[in-house]
Symmetry: C2
Subunit: 569 residues, 2 copies
């Protein structure tokens, strides 16, 4: 591509409307233009990047044996009512009424449409497994679209759906997709983690999110520094620490007149926060079905994980206890609560870490006082023990390899083992080997193609602009011509190099726009081209080209052979 | 592609819902599945064909210098109100209301969006001309969607928009696009004509439709048998015939008691229909602005062309005259009308053919009578002469080359010289060489990508199914294996050939599904694969492959070299 024949329009100013760096840089580089809230036009430059991502996704899906098809954007209400999602999806589902007053939606995902296709096209276990995918425009009517294409309303998504005669087959394909996704994000040059995730609204039994690591990410992740373990902080297991130390201190009451938090108590007593225990009072349901007052204990520097807590028996629908309930069960106001000597019988659940503590400090159930030197077994009964806290930096990795690090991530892919939720709801079945009609097990696998573009920028940028991973760059290399109009020899040499690079499959552009070098280089850096080659009269005389990698701070003078070697690397 | 790893599902029965052959065959071949009225899922097989068409369109647009981008599907009402099209587009515009009660539409075309992009991105004549295109999903809420993807509501369209500093530049690009379209349809292997067309609702000054010729086409075309002239019948010029013959008969009144049509009069008098003249009474507007009674005369075997008539002075808003008006001006009831001896002054417009007639027959303005032997100049004044009829088969071609033939066509492409309609309405301007802000002239260029798939089938099919032009075929060649499970040598030979063909870029599929030969061949014919090669034990022994072109009625036994030569042809 000759840039004089292309449309490139960069901005010097940082657009005020953009909050995060990818949005800013996509606007500055002229990759996108806002048409309305959450709706973006992809400029020629932006589309080149989007298509590169799309091509990698398609290649790897094909390689993994998935078969591409295309379902309509506009889908009838009746279809969505079969699974109840017409109502359940909520206001993110963009509803449409046609000229005949029939209702439709703009598809945000296509479980219903693909299951409808499947039930018409497939009839036997012999045709399974099958994985059908599409790369099409989707729509979610976000209440607050923001961050450019990171959370746009209209976006490009790859969605795949697999169908299986049994769970074993689903597991195999789930792993196959997991591996395909790993190849995709690796090829795209992204630092990412596959994290075990909560299945959220789509439902099902197993799921992993593929997260691009970036400080601006919305999701908090924990990952091992020594293995590929990664999980959403909400779901990461906090493993049990080593055995409990022996009691070394006597139980004693300490005055903490105004100290209601663990931090304040630790400061007053001059002890580490890790010696204190926090008591969170909630109401669960006892074995008899009656409300059950429960204290959840975590170390002072830890945080209760509500998802983990709710998975314990009797706590599925727990809520925080009221002050009246706290007073009734513990005889004390909040701030000085603890598991010792409740006024009425209570359930005590200690986090694994708390269960391993000795000589710790808890509230005394007496206003203005805490208890120090508390020890399990001696001062109070051994508690019910469970993992009920969020992991923190430095915790051992649950896979036994290394310790956990924290990062923020941007979700760009998601694999779900859906099970039979959709196939059963839509009365979709195939005949099994015994001739019996069975609902197929399903998996679904999404990739936010347009979001990847923004996520890659969040992860790869510097003060000068975008730093594309090579596989996503609009061009791998730009050949810059200094003074194209004034020096025919320079122009001819640049044209020859440009042609040679493209013939070698190196995806080159020629910057023949005739800009001053400073403005030209600033553009090429801003739009993130991995390699820049400058053809100038001086270089021609010396038989060299000026080469600079986007990530380098200095240029090098290279002869043709050395240059080609660099670009091929 | 191994067909055992693909999803192919053909139907033996012809689907009742389909009215035209392309719809029937697309359903039988399993290319599409209906999701709702006018909404189709493209199966893996269908999508392969659609993508082939898309790729050819993209390559030729790129070659022509157009630049690809992508605009949102969902576009805000405010944008469409700038041009007045929110109201004017009518119920085909699918309107959408989001969760915030803001109004949008699903884009049927993108003049507004691209002009909005242009006015933000372009500022100088130096950046022009530019041609921006996209290949995206569009929606028209057809009142009666039918014929499968031929007139679907959701469809894939390539739309391009060019911007110019002046009309000369627009004309150059219009021709450039005309040529690109000709290359596209030629590469796709379609018989087509570019016809001068009415500009319809989009407006503008020049336009050509690209029509694929097929009996089921909705549009009536006239084209020369000796040149590339083609036009919509509505717009084709009926050229003036040779000079008028001299009067040979006396004017006389003939009794036609019940003969009110030219056909009946000619039959009664025993003369050719081409000797009679039909008088059509309409009300136009005189030079003084008052209603003007007008007789439009065409030969008895011709039909008045309303578009041509309305282009004449005073007839822009003409309507048929009422019986009362006819009685007032001609003193006679319909059926016996003519231009002689009106009761009040009238305007007489003779079609070019009528003006060249002598000794003709017209109504006598007297119930039950016609006049025969009528001659211009002698019996009534020379008339106003104009081209006011539809052309018919055998008329001379307006370009002077050959005679006109009639055909039916399916519109698959359209080029428009739009002028400044959109740029002016949207206050879009660039600075010209003199530094003055001027609205750019625009062209727009559409191709119905998904419709091409159906149009190609309308033109290319036989009793066994689709006969794809090679550029659109899902695969160029299918290698069929007889008894893949029973004969390892056959399977190995087929695999080797399949690999060899793909390595040679011949886009081969391997039919390793293990079907009986009859069923396998029927599938391969139905889905229209241009070349079929059968690998069998018998052939292997003889060192040959059984080759058959889709268009051939017999197979040939070819050795490897001859086979490759055939497939490369």
């Amino acid at each position: 591509m000759r840039l004089s024949q292309f449309h490139l329009r960069t901005e010097k100013e940082t657009p005020a409307e953009a909050e995060i760096v990818s949005h800013k840089l996509m606007l500055k580089a002229g990759m996108i233009r806002k048409l309305a809230a959450g709706l973006y036009t992809w400029s020629p430059l932006g589309l080149r990047v989007l298509r590169k991502v799309e091509a990698v996704v398609r290649e790897e899906m094909d390689r993994a044996g998935a078969i591409e098809m295309a379902m309509p954007s506009v889908q009838p209400k009746e279809l969505w009512e079969e699974t109840g999602r017409w109502a359940k999806f909520g206001p993110q589902l963009l509803k449409i009424r046609d000229r005949k007053e029939q209702e439709y939606c703009f598809t945000p995902t296509a479980e219903e449409a693909v299951t409808d296709f499947f039930r018409q096209e497939f009839s036997s276990y012999k045709q399974l497994p099958v994985n059908l995918y599409q790369i099409t425009t989707k729509f979610r009517d976000e209440i607050r679209p923001r961050f450019g294409v990171m959370r746009a309303r209209e976006f490009l998504m790859k969605d795949a759906y697999s169908f299986h005669i049994d769970e074993d087959s689903l597991r195999v394909e789930y792993r196959n997709m997991y591996d395909a996704y790993s190849r995709i994000f690796t090829r795209l040059g992204l630092k990412f983690r596959a994290v075990a995730a909560d299945t959220g609204a789509i439902g099902g039994s197993a799921s992993h999110e593929f997260q691009v690591l970036a400080d601006s990410g919305e999701d908090a992740l924990a990952y091992s520094d020594a293995s590929d373990f990664a999980a959403n902080v909400e779901l990461a297991e906090a493993v049990a620490p080593g055995p409990r130390a022996a009691a070394g201190e006597p139980l004693r009451e300490v005055a903490t007149p105004t100290q209601k938090t663990c931090e304040d108590v630790a400061a007053l007593l001059g002890i580490p926060l890790a010696r204190t225990v926090k008591s969170v009072a909630v109401m669960g349901t006892g074995d008899d079905g009656a409300p059950q007052f429960t204290l959840a204990l975590v170390r002072g520097d830890h945080v209760v994980n509500e998802i983990k807590l709710a998975k314990l028996p009797g706590l599925a629908d727990y809520r925080l206890a009221s002050e009246a309930e706290i007073l009734e069960y513990l005889g004390c106001e909040p701030g000085f609560l603890g598991p010792l000597q409740p006024r009425r019988p209570i359930r005590v659940i200690a986090d694994r870490t708390v269960a391993a503590m000795a000589d710790f400090v808890v509230g005394a159930n007496k206003p203005g006082f805490h208890l120090a030197g508390v020890n399990w077994g001696r001062d109070l009964p051994e508690p019910e023990v469970a993992d009920i806290r969020n992991v923190v930096e430095g915790d051992p990795s649950p896979d036994g390899k290394g310790v956990l690090r924290m990062a923020r991530g941007i979700e760009v892919g998601h694999v779900f083992a859906l099970g039979r939720k959709y196939s059963e709801a839509m009365h979709c079945s195939v005949l099994d080997a015994a001739g019996k009609a069975v609902a197929p097990a399903m998996g679904c696998y999404g990739i936010g193609v347009s979001r990847i573009v923004a996520a890659a920028i969040e992860q790869n940028h510097d003060a000068a602009g975008i730093v594309w991973p090579p596989a996503m760059a609009p061009w791998r290399v730009v050949v810059c011509v200094i003074n194209p109009k004034n020096d025919p020899a320079v122009t001819a040499a640049a044209e020859a190099l440009y042609a040679e690079l493209n013939a070698a499959g190196l995806d080159a552009a020629l910057d023949d726009r005739g800009l001053r070098p400073g403005a030209m280089f600033a553009d090429i850096e801003l739009i993130g081209i991995p390699h820049r080659v400058v053809v100038s009269a001086r270089g021609l005389d010396a038989g060299t080209f000026e080469y600079r990698a986007r990530t380098a701070s200095e240029s090098e003078q290279l002869d043709r052979a050395a240059l080609l070697e660099k670009l091929r690397a």
